[in-house]
Every structure is written in C-alpha cells, then in structure tokens.
Amino acid sequence: MGTFTRRRLLIAGAAATLPAPLVRRNNGLSAAAAAAGTSPEPLRIGAVLPIGGAAMPPGRINIRAVGEAARMGLVLGEEDAARNGELVGWSTEVTIANAPGVDAAARAARRLIARDRVSVLVGGFSRDEAEAISEIAEEGDAIFLNIAAQSDALRHTCRTGMFHIEASAAMYLDAIFGWFVRAGYRNWYFVHDDSLEGQELYERALVSLKERHWAAEVAGRGVLRQDDSRDFAPVIAEIGKVRPDVVLLLTDWRTQLDFLSRYEVSGNLAQVAGYPDPASQLRDFYFAAKQAAPVFGSGYRAALWEATLDSYGARELNARFDARWGRPMDPPAWAAYQAVKIALEAAIASGSGDAASLAAHIGGPQGLFDVSKGIGMTFRPWDGQMRQSLFLVKINPDATSSLALDAMLERASLAGELPAIYMPGTDPVERLDQLGEIDPSRSCP
C-alpha cells in the first residue's frame, strides 16, 4: 500500500468570510443539528485509489490514469463540499489512499476506518476490489460508494451500505444496443476474453438483445485468451466471413486498442464498438483509439459522463473542473466528485455522518440527488444502483495529442443521451429504469 495523503479542508476565501453561525435547515432536516447551530463532527470520507507509482507495470491492470482522474474529482468535490457545507454548518474531510490492487485496497480501507474514522469509503476499481472494500465497510460501520466497478454480479451481492454511482455493465450494454440497433446495426459479433467477467459480459449482452432488441441478432463471437500473447487473427478472419454490421469488443481497454490496430488494416468493413470500462472512457483513451485505428477507432462510445455536456448545470460543473485542473472532467472524476457530494448531502439531510444514517437517506425515499444530469437521481432499492442516463460520445478523427484544455475537449463530442431526459408524459423513474437490471421484487437490506 502506498502512503496516505491527508487533505485538509480547502475553504474558499469567500466562504471563510461568512459570519458564523449561519445555519438554517429546512423542516426536513435534523432539528437537533439546526438547534445547535454549530458544526457536528466532520463528515469523514476515505477514498481508495489505484494511483500507483513509477513502478506500476504497463498493461491492462495499470489504471493509474483512472485513479488520477478520480483523485481530481475528489479534490474538487472536497472543495465544493467545503463551500456548501460551510453555508449550513458542516465540514468534510477527504482522505485519499494510494492503493492499487485488491490487497492494498483492502488494507487501505481497514486503515481508513480504524485510523481516520471515516464513515464513507469511496473506490472500487475492479469487482474484486469493490467486494473487498464493501465487506470491510460493512464490518467497520461505513458505507461504500462504488465509483468504478461495473460488474453486475457485484450488484447482486447487495451488501448493506453499498451504493453504486458507476453504472452497471448491464446499463452500459443496454445503452449501447439501444443506440446502435435503432441506428440500423442489427447483426452483432462479440469479442470477449476467456475470463469469468468476459463470459458474464457476453451473456448479459445476449440477454439485452433477446429481451429488449428483438430486431437484432448474433452473428458470432470470438473468445480471446486473457494474457499478453493474444492472437487476434482467427477472430478477425471469422468476422470477415460472417460480415456482421458491428463488432462489440467486450474486453478491457488495452485489448480494445490492440484489437483496433489490427482490425484497421484487416479489410473488414463492420463498425467496431467497445465496452466502456472506466479506462476506456478517458479522453486519453479516445486519442489512443483514434491513433491505433483512425477509421474504426474513432467511432461512438458509451460514457458515464461527457466533458462537453453543457445542459443541466453540466456546463458549470465542467467549467469548474476545467478551471481547477486545466483538463476535462473524465467520467471517473465525475463519479468521484458525485460521491463526495452525495455523501455530504446525505449527512446534511439526515443530520448525521454515521453510516446507518447515511445509508438510510441515500437508499431511502428521501434520497434524491442532483448529479448534473438533468433529473433527480435515486438509488434502486433492489441493487443499490444509481438510476441515471448515459451518454453517447463520438471520438473525433482529428483528435490530437495536445494536452491543451481545448484540444483535449475536442478529442470527443457529445452525440446522444439515453434515456432522453426530456420526455413529458412518461414516468421519470420508469424512464431511467430502461437501463440495467430491473427486479423490483428484490430488495437490498
């Protein structure tokens, strides 16, 4: 495990000038805290990030860039929380642990609870990592906000106090099929690796086609060995034979880049779509995809967030992030930012930073959150998943390697939103439940 970095409250100058105490709560909030007119205990949040170090090996497990994006989102989240909390008498402390890998993440999570007394853990950069942290959170009287693990199986564990800000694999797959099938891509070829996760993605893809997109069909599938000696030639050859409308890569980000570079010169014509794991939602990946395959690597991608979104208050959030860091707000940054915001709003609303109160508010009927996606978001009671819309992003074929903010923004642009938020006459919750597992009969404790 790496070293811990203690971040102290960053109270903006303007907020620091506020006369104290300036505490008013509406009638739905804690009467005790309101009456006191003083700050309760700080809300303590601990984040476990895979930032790694110089010795981090290259390859698919190196998701340092994802961790770094999340760190930037946490910092902005903490700064905004300082401003927002100060207005109503709350303070927030965010402690970031640099802990790549399951074992390191578990140690960091235990230490954050024991030493830093956090009641909120943020992280989850793989299914195993998220399961480990959620178990530790449950044992240690903390809630766990998952910001990067997409596994559907993880959501089925339904652990107490675990909430998923990251969208599930099922949500991403439903979104991808929704867009492509409607655009006329009916014949699908799937590529996945031979891991359990790869198999699960493939099976969930079949479910989506079977249950929601009857007009689509499976042209075939290719299975890759999950090691560094993958041979794409047989799969690419078969794609040439079956001639699907589109190839969906249900693989990690690194495999997608390798596949794209080989597919680009294969002579095949089918479009290529990629499963959007967190690393493949970064603007760095968008540029890398376009570099690897100028034609087939500059297609459409599903994303949790888009840095060029300018509706719903997203313009202002993106602008604050741009100004703070000089780079666009990648989806892991957005998820991390929202984790802090959601935790603080739950603490303010419930009048307590303890895990039980936070979990009750986040998962309860009053748990409605504004995450700059244009509609109030709630967490599904049956799996702790945040209902939300996803975005369709088009990679710019003229993207450059420049690290200037505008150039990085121009690496991709917003192409769509699913479900569409503006649909008068429809139930908004049902609308959001168009994506992902729908099982209201089940309920997390």
Partner: protein
C-alpha cells in the same frame, strides 16, 4: 464601500424595431441563443421587433429579466457561455420600454444570470453564477454597493416588497442566501429543494417561494423567520424554474420545463390548483402575468415561442413566435398617455 464600477450610459447596442402600439404593456423575452430580446405586442399576438444585445449570437447570452417598479425599464442580465470567470460580455443592460432603446450597461461581475430591482428602483441586484456571489449596484451610478458570498452556481434573486431582504438561490448548494439591505450583511443561508432556480416574494412579503428544478418542488419560506414552512411537490419530472404571482397574490404560476406545463399553485393552501398542459409550447422556462392578471405568457425554450394563457379558463389560447431559446419573460408598461 466598493469603488465606483463602470457605468456606460451610452447606448451600447443597436438595432431596434417594433415601436408604438395601443396596448398598455409589451412582453419582453430574452432569447438566449439569439443574443437578443424579442418584443411582443400582446394585443396583436405577434412579435413586433427585437433588441439586439450583441452581434455575436451563440457567444453572448441574455438570460434573466427584471422590470423597474414603474414598469418602464427592463433590465437584462447578459453573460457569455463560458462560466469560468468574468468576461467583457458580463453585464446588466437596461432597456427603456417607451423607446426600446438600451439606455445603460452596468458592469456586474462574473456571469450574471438573473437580476432583480429594489422596490424603490434604486438598487440593481444580480446573481453571479461563475463566482458564487450576489452583487448590489446603485442604479443611478453603477456603483457597487456590496458583493456577497452565496452557494455554488448562484441563480435566482429577489428583493422583498419592503426592500429590506434579498433572497439568492444557488443551484449546486441547494441553498437560499439571505441578505439584509439596511447594513448589506448576509443574515443566513437555508436549505431548500434540489437545484433551486427562481425565487419570488409574496405580495405582502411574508412568504417567499423557491422553485427547485431537480427536486420538483416549491419551497415555501416564512420570511420573518427565514424557515421553510411548506413544500409543494410538483413531481420529479416537473423541473420547475420561473415563477410569477397574479396581482392579488392568490395564485403562483410555475413554469414546469420538464413536463411542458404551467403549474398554478393556490398560495392559501399551498396546493396545485391547475396544471396547464394542452397546447403548451415545449420546455416553458419562465412565466409572467399581465398587469391586469388576465393573461400569462411563457418563455418556451425548446419551441422558440411564447404561449399565451387565459387565466379565466386556465388554458392556452395562442402561440407567438420568439427568437431562439427563450429564457425569461417580463412585462414592460407603456405610458399610453405619452
């Protein structure tokens, strides 16, 4: 006291059309994507002209509108589309209703979104979205009278009928900041619904109403205590934004952008009395009542139009084309005698 800020009394923006009509009032619509103000003659049911705010539509955005107490001046908050800091476009622009000429431009601060005028007409208040502040300006000189910290993404702003209190909403913080004008001091901040947008005081100043776009609610605030005393639930999808009261203050009209509806709330019961949907334009973002209260006009952001509502039948009776992206709507009084 903050030093004198720029006050540009010269006419800043040019082309004006649409003069002289019999009606006692005109309807003004800020067209966010047109960089212009549409002028509507309610009797003719037609747009009669535009006031150009900038020659750079798409770069410069007029949004919030306010009217002076005598109804003769319309104030427009103008900014750019880059909410990072103050830019040269950020200003409050005053328009003379009689001539439809821009008569003054006030430097306000970073990204002014909405604007309010004190009951005596001497103070201009603006929410500064980019810098999380509210600012007070002297309407005669442009002098900055005070600048105040608010929550993040400052938006709605209103001055109480007695001029003693200013309420300012902040979208990300879900707060209302309370400012006392006598000593220009922040009194408190209070939590309201998710993503508060507009705020309006009741006619007697005892209550204030705050629309919460993401919460789908109207928070009813007891002004003497600055406490939320009731919440009107319009539904998660309502996305309420702009509001106006009828002349008697009996009904609160709320623009529901998410459902393309106007919600009419009975202020005595704090319950929804009417929902006007049929023939409504798309995504109404603001609503205003005529001086006699017999009509209401909406700014429809997605259909580039104004819907006309008859407040007797509580029904839409007409559509009037406006510019691109109507954001706010206000009524200016024409001095018929002159």
């Amino acid at each position: 006291m903050i030093p004198l800020r720029h006050l540009l009394l010269a006419v800043a923006a040019g082309s004006v059309a649409g003069m002289g009509q019999a009606a006692g009032y005109r309807v003004y619509v800020s067209d966010e994507y047109n960089a212009a103000i549409s002028i509507i003659d309610p009797d003719r049911g037609a747009q009669t002209g535009t006031i150009e705010i900038s020659g750079r539509p798409g770069d410069v955005r007029p949004r919030g509108l306010a009217v002076s107490p005598d109804g003769k001046t319309i104030f427009v908050s103008v900014s750019d589309f880059l909410p990072r800091a103050e830019s040269p476009e950020d200003a409050i622009v005053a328009i003379d209703v009689a001539t439809n000429q821009v008569t003054a431009t006030y430097r306000a601060g970073g990204n002014p979104e909405r604007v309010a005028i004190s009951p005596d007409g001497r103070q201009i208040w603006a929410s500064l979205e980019a810098t999380a502040q509210a600012v007070a300006l002297d309407a005669a000189t442009g002098t900055q009278l005070g600048i105040f910290p608010t929550g993040i993404e400052t938006e709605g702003i209103a001055v109480s009928p007695d001029g003693q209190i200013v309420y300012v909403t902040a979208e990300t913080s879900h707060t209302v900041t309370v400012i006392r004008t006598s000593d220009m001091t922040v009194v408190t901040h209070l939590l309201v619904g998710n993503r508060p947008r507009d705020v309006i005081f009741s006619r007697d100043g005892q209550r204030a109403y705050v629309s919460a776009e993401i919460g789908g609610t109207i928070s009813v605030i007891d002004v003497p205590s600055h406490e939320v005393v009731a919440t009107v639930n319009l539904g998660l999808d309502a996305r309420p934004v702009g509001m106006d009261l009828d002349p008697e203050g009996k009904f609160l009209y709320v623009a529901g952008g998410g459902t393309s509806a106007i919600y009419v709330v009975d202020t005595e019961t704090d319950r929804v009395a009417h929902v006007i949907k049929e023939k409504m334009g798309r995504r109404p973002w603001d609503v205003v009542l005529s001086p006699d209260g017999r009509k209401a006009f909406t700014a429809n952001g997605l259909s580039d139009s104004v819907s006309v509502i008859d407040t007797d039948c509580m029904c839409v009776t007409g559509q009037i084309p406006a510019g691109r992206g109507p954001h706010s709507v206000r009524v200016g009084v024409v001095d018929v005698a002159n």
